[in-house]
């Protein structure tokens, strides 16, 4: 086992698959000479040359279109969207083409395309650069969607995605790139469609993925000190979703919450809860609640951003609620405090304004 960063594991997966299959190539913005905005493609140009590692103009629609067109002729493109936020410019290619060309052609065409896209919040990048779109991609038949939480899964899933004969949306989290984990020296892959129990527990199930996996594990750790043993399931693959593993767990714990970094409405959490209440209705004793991003565009300000994203405390608190322990309405409390401070601030500001005008009059 070697310990490496998430981005290094991704880099290694790309290298291995490119060595293994000459039909694999990579295109994207600043992935070659610049070595990738998040350095995931570092050194690939040097190893594989300009034929297989290409910088593109800033033309997202054409970039994915080239991926589709090349895949139609049997190549295995790996397309990088510098961040998922820019994939909004390529949605026609992804949804009207990648996901449907096979079906519309009656099975004649294959699209062995991998679209890598960093997403997520936490670096004060503001509303346009802090989004998550897993629920959008999950909604579309014909696409597969994966979202690894650890270097191990990142490497194994990326290799599976590249070998898959279908379009795979490969979501990475910008805050995970430098996180470390163990990665075997020897060749391995992680199958698409299998969830992974990252922590066993008997009292409650926390269902999550991507960056929220680590945050949930931290919460579970804290809860253990209160005698609550939480099972943490990392979905890893969002479409197809491994519902069986979730049901299994619920059969044991009878209680669950879902943690997602994305907005709530029509999100991945809603899908998980809907499947469970339909398939495991009799197993659970309390409603399954979701801990999500606040339902607002992401603000720039550090304190606001931090308070919008799910954290250890919110998760632990949500678990306490579903297992019937004492739990608080954190948000209400924060709002009360905030309104307090706000009033004071606005008074101050008025006074200053007043003084300013007085001075002006005096000078006049």
């Amino acid at each position: 086992m070697a310990v490496m960063m998430y981005r290094q594991a991704l880099n290694l997966a790309l290298r291995e698959e490119m060595r293994r299959d000459p039909d694999v190539f990579i295109i994207g913005e600043d992935i070659a000479h610049y070595q990738g905005a998040y350095r995931v493609t570092e050194g690939l140009l040097q190893e594989f040359g300009e034929k297989r590692v290409l910088d593109t103009p800033i033309s997202e629609e054409a970039i994915v279109g080239v991926g589709n067109g090349a895949a139609m002729l049997g190549l295995r493109p790996v397309v990088e969207m510098m961040t998922v936020n820019f994939s909004l410019l390529a949605m026609d290619q992804i949804v009207n083409h990648s996901s449907k060309l096979r079906y519309m052609s009656g099975g004649q065409i294959k699209i062995p395309l991998t679209i890598r896209a960093p997403q997520g919040a936490g670096m004060q990048l503001g509303a346009q650069h802090s989004q998550n779109f897993e629920s959008w991609f999950m909604h579309i038949p014909g696409l597969k969607v994966v979202a690894p939480a650890t270097p191990y899964d990142a490497k194994g899933l990326l290799k599976s995605a590249i070998r898959d004969d279908n379009p795979v949306i490969f979501l990475e989290h910008e805050m995970l790139y430098t996180t470390k984990g163990e990665v075997p020296e020897e060749e391995y892959t992680v199958p698409i469609g299998k969830a992974d129990i990252k922590r066993e527990g008997r009292d409650v199930t926390i269902i999550t993925y991507l960056r929220m996996t680590a945050v949930s594990l931290a919460a579970a750790h804290a809860l253990a000190t209160e005698g609550i043993e939480a099972e943490v399931i990392d979905l890893r693959s969002l479409r197809p979703m491994d519902t069986e593993t979730l049901i299994e767990s619920l059969r044991k714990t009878h209680r669950a919450i879902v943690v997602e970094e994305d907005w709530p409405m029509c999100g991945s959490g809603a899908e998980v809860i809907t499947r469970l209440q339909e398939a495991a209705f009799d197993y659970f004793d309390a409603p399954i609640t979701r801990v999500t991003l606040e339902d607002v565009p992401m603000p720039y300000s550090k304190n606001l951003e931090r308070s919008a994203i799910p954290n250890e405390e919110k998760i632990a608190n949500a678990v306490r609620c579903v297992v019937g322990r004492e739990c608080r309405d954190i948000k209400r409390k924060m709002l009360e405090e905030a309104r307090q401070t706000r009033e004071e601030l606005e008074e101050e500001e008025e006074e200053e304004e007043q003084e300013a005008t007085n001075v002006r009059h005096h000078n006049a």
């Binding site: 190539f25 034929k51 290409l54 593109t56 103009p57 033309s59 629609e61 054409a62 994915v64 279109g65 080239v66 991926g67 589709n68 067109g69 090349a70 895949a71 139609m72 002729l73 049997g74 190549l75 493109p77 026609d92 290619q93 009207n96 083409h97 060309l101 096979r102 079906y103 519309m104 052609s105 009656g106 099975g107 004649q108 065409i109 294959k110 699209i111 062995p112 038949p141 014909g142 597969k144 004969d165 279908n166």
Partner: protein
């Protein structure tokens, strides 16, 4: 060009014309669903260009693609069966009029999204270079597609990366009901392709021999130079945008003017004048084509619709 080639091209144009006329009737008779965009009037473009390709060259078009599909060699039976939504259709009944695919024949489909075939063609051009073959990709689209971002991004990338793609804009003067001069800041569309450092030209798309000559040259140069080119083929659609089209945006007179330049009679006269064919030859071609269409229709009629389980097939490979 030898005589048989010329006759074959005539045959192809008649095939398209009669196929489309019949499809129009069958649509009104309720045999065909969805949208139906007929190619009537534009036959010389598909025939002139596609007849100049090698069999393993690629073609991609938009939703008005029956003509190109037939010319690339797909059996009329399987195109008609597709219009009928039968499992014997070229796309097994899943695509319909806008989504004819025949991968074996390197016909990479229709596409229902205006302009979106261009990035796909660009990607195919990329794959051709990657594989280091000497194929070319022929990409058909309409005048309306010129105003989509996809046009811009595709031409820039194809030129920047030296991709062997021939972009053919079929300017039939209307995008649905919108005249080209009400949609494009420059109505001469070849000029819209002049800021990507690639060769552009505009040709009379109603005269088969003109098209043929430009196509041969264009395809040869794309293949030789591994550089994209852009050709505007000025043509006209005699029928509505789709069968639903009220047609209020243009005058009968305008249509009649263009009918004087109908590519099929125009080419027929040439063949007769040059003693390349007799009226009997042409009549027997017409008769033969009519039989082919009749056969295609009965094939489609008799074919079975897809079975319910097929609904769930081909979503994933």
């Amino acid at each position: 060009m030898d005589k048989s080639e010329l006759i074959e091209m005539y045959r192809q144009m008649v095939l398209i014309r009669k196929f489309e006329e019949r499809a129009g009737e069958l649509y009104k008779a309720g045999k065909i669903g969805g949208f139906l965009h007929l190619y009537i009037g534009q036959e010389a473009v598909a025939v002139g260009f596609i007849s100049s390709l090698k069999p393993d060259d690629y073609v991609i078009s938009a939703y008005r693609e029956h003509g190109q599909a037939l010319t690339k060699g797909i059996e009329p039976r399987r195109v008609m069966a597709e219009l009928y939504g039968k499992r014997t259709g070229v796309s097994r009944g899943k695509g319909g009029s806008m989504h004819m695919f025949d991968v074996e024949r390197h016909f990479m489909g229709g596409d229902g999204i205006v302009g979106s075939g261009m990035p796909l063609a660009t990607g195919m051009g990329f794959a051709i270079n990657y594989r280091e073959t000497d194929q070319v990709c022929l990409c058909f689209f309409g005048d309306g597609a010129v105003n989509e971002g996809a046009f811009h991004e595709s031409l820039n990338l194809a030129s920047l990366w030296n991709l062997p793609v021939l972009y053919v804009c079929e300017n039939n003067f209307y995008g649905m009901g919108t005249a080209v001069n009400r949609a494009s800041s420059i109505p001469e569309l070849f000029r819209r392709a002049q800021c990507y450092d690639l060769e552009v030209e505009s040709i009379d798309g109603m005269d088969l021999l003109t098209v043929k000559e430009a196509a041969e040259r264009g395809i040869r140069l794309v293949r030789r130079d591994k550089r994209p080119r852009f050709i505007e083929a000025v043509t006209y659609r005699y029928r509505g945008h789709s069968i639903a089209d009220p047609g209020t945006y243009r005058t009968k007179e305008e249509i009649q003017e263009w009918e004087k330049r109908d590519p099929i009679p125009q080419f027929a006269n040439y063949l007769l004048k040059e003693d390349l064919a007799t009226q009997d030859d042409l009549d027997s071609i017409d008769a033969e084509i009519t039989e082919i269409i009749d056969d295609a229709v009965s094939y489609a009629e008799e074919s079975h619709e897809p079975t319910f389980d097929e609904l769930f097939e081909n979503v994933y490979a």
